[in-house]
């Protein structure tokens, strides 16, 4: 596409099927980040598509 570059992102809709394992970290990084965005954390499931 000439005027649009789509960045590779995890498809949230598909992750309804391949997500939800619950392996990700829960705390706001050792109880320190009241402005933590969930999205700054990593997916810990190495098998997600």
């Amino acid at each position: 596409m000439k005027r649009i570059r789509t960045i590779e992102t995890r498809d949230l809709g598909k992750s309804v099927q391949n997500g939800g394992c619950g392996e990700c970290q829960t705390s706001c990084q050792s109880a320190c980040k009241t402005s933590c965005g969930v999205v700054n954390q990593q997916c810990e499931n190495s098998e997600q598509e």
Binding site: I4, Q25, T26, S27, S30, A31, S35, Q41
Partner: protein, 459 residues
């Protein structure tokens, strides 16, 4: 929902329900902005009026771009509908079991930081150290409540946890002994102000702590203004060399230097760069949590200055990366391709359900920010959770629970924000802390821009 913004020469378009991110040129940016509100002919006319004479854009150019937009829409990457609202509560509770504890091993501290959210470590209560017995009971509680879940997290916190270091060591030993028979695996972190860091502590942490959070506010004059000891002496000169040595011994990884910025240092990027220049590469900086009337509280007038700071920081980080001396800033960490799934985006931080704080007496709270507020006491590690009503409030708390979030493009990035901030600002965890929302959205725009910039030049 589609959110569009321009930053650092990039035109960026987000599709919130799919999580898609598109870098576009100015023509496509304007076409997308009109796509749903103008009929096609009127849209083409408007774009040609804007770009035809100056840039030689033709009708065919606009039609081609419209074709691309329709293709993205058909692929579910632009203007995609939101299917999650009705599933939100169930998705939040898909994995509702306890999996992490924040152990307040010390409700006391050896510093007297003016802005401490925990009232200098005692949370407006008695000073105390957690006994080994209570700590072990907390670990047992975590193992029991976590059911089949294998990976468990324990944060050592306070006050200053190193004031109870012997208990920390014994608790880790106990946990490790339980791992095999109970089919569990513990991941530990420790937060510290650094005053009691010595060889023994460093050696132990490097063996047992997956991550350590080291409190430093930045420049000496900024740090020492608020982080003094009980003799009124600043702590910077004592802790910086220890942090540098500690980080060196950890191989320069698995740590965060974490600062707090206040009204006194709205130019907080200077503090972050100062920490980078001290040799620290894993950085975090948080806005102060305090009452609005405190002298160091952030104000409405500060907000535009803070926005500028976040933008400056993002641009400087990109510049340093290119020059080979980049650093990580926690809020700008973003793995767009392999980040959290929709369950996590909806569920949020897990406070009150998957994560709880434990006081030295074994009392349970949804997180460290609620400790000391009796209404939010969930129970104890001895009696279990008995405040079902409050826990249910946390179970129902998710990215779709707050009406204000439904029209917000950042909804699935922030997951509804911090429940404690919402409660302190509005009296309810289902409220929102607007100031926090403003900062979050600016940070997220900067973080996404950095990912776009790493993928190539502006179109």
């Amino acid at each position: 929902m589609v959110h569009q913004y321009k930053l650092n020469g990039y035109c960026i378009v987000l599709d919130t329900s799919s999580g898609s991110v598109h870098a576009v040129d100015p023509v496509a940016y304007d076409i997308i902005a009109l796509y749903k509100t103008k009929p096609e002919e009127a849209l083409i006319e408007e774009i040609l009026a804007l770009y035809g004479p100056k840039e030689g854009i033709t009708r065919k150019d606009v039609m081609d771009c419209l074709t691309d937009i329709r293709e993205l829409e058909a692929a579910g990457k632009l203007f995609s509908p939101d299917p999650y609202q009705d599933m939100a509560v169930d998705m939040k509770n898909h994995n509702g079991t306890l999996k992490a504890l924040c152990l307040h091993v010390a409700h006391t501290c050896n510093l007297n930081c003016s802005y401490c959210f925990a009232s200098q470590g005692n949370y407006h209560g008695d000073r105390a150290l957690m006994s080994l017995e209570t700590g072990k009971r907390a670990l047992d509680f975590l193992m029991e409540q976590s059911k089949g879940r294998r990976n468990l997290e324990v944060d050592f916190f306070g006050g200053e946890p190193l004031m109870n270091f012997e208990v920390v060591k014994e608790l880790v030993r106990y946990a490790r002994q339980q791992e095999t028979p109970r089919h569990k695996r513990f991941r530990f972190t420790l937060t510290t102000n650094g005053m009691l860091l010595d060889d023994d502590v460093m050696e132990f942490c490097n063996r047992e702590m997956s991550n350590v959070v080291l409190s430093l506010d930045g420049r000496r004059e900024v740090h020492d203004h608020l982080r003094k000891d009980y003799a009124g002496q600043g702590s910077y000169d004592r802790i910086v060399p220890k942090f540098q040595e500690f980080v060196r011994r950890r191989g320069g990884k698995n740590y965060y230097i974490r600062g707090t910025f206040t009204h006194n240092n709205v130019d907080f990027t200077e503090d972050i760069l100062h920490m980078a220049d001290l040799g620290f590469r894993e950085l975090s900086m948080e806005p102060v949590v305090c009452a609005p009337e405190d002298p160091y509280a952030l104000t409405e007038e500060d907000l535009p200055l803070l926005f500028e700071q976040y933008e400056l920081l993002a641009k400087e980080m990109l510049r340093r990366e290119k020059a080979g001396n980049g650093f990580t800033f926690y809020h700008y960490m973003l793995d767009l391709a392999h980040g959290p799934c929709i369950y996590k985006r909806i569920a949020g931080c897990g406070s009150g359900t998957e994560y709880m704080a434990v006081t030295p007496w074994g009392d349970l709270y949804p997180c460290h920010q609620f400790v000391g507020d009796e209404r939010y006491r969930l129970g104890s590690v001895y009696e279990g959770v008995c405040n079902e009503e409050i826990q249910e409030q946390f179970r129902r708390c998710n990215a779709y629970a707050r009406p204000e979030c439904r029209d917000c493009w950042a909804q699935l990035y922030c997951s509804g924000g911090c429940a404690a901030n919402a409660y302190h600002a509005t009296g309810s965890i289902a409220g929102i802390y607007e100031y926090g929302c403003e900062l979050f959205k600016k940070r997220m725009e900067c973080a996404i821009m950095m990912q776009v910039a790493r993928s190539g030049d502006p179109l």
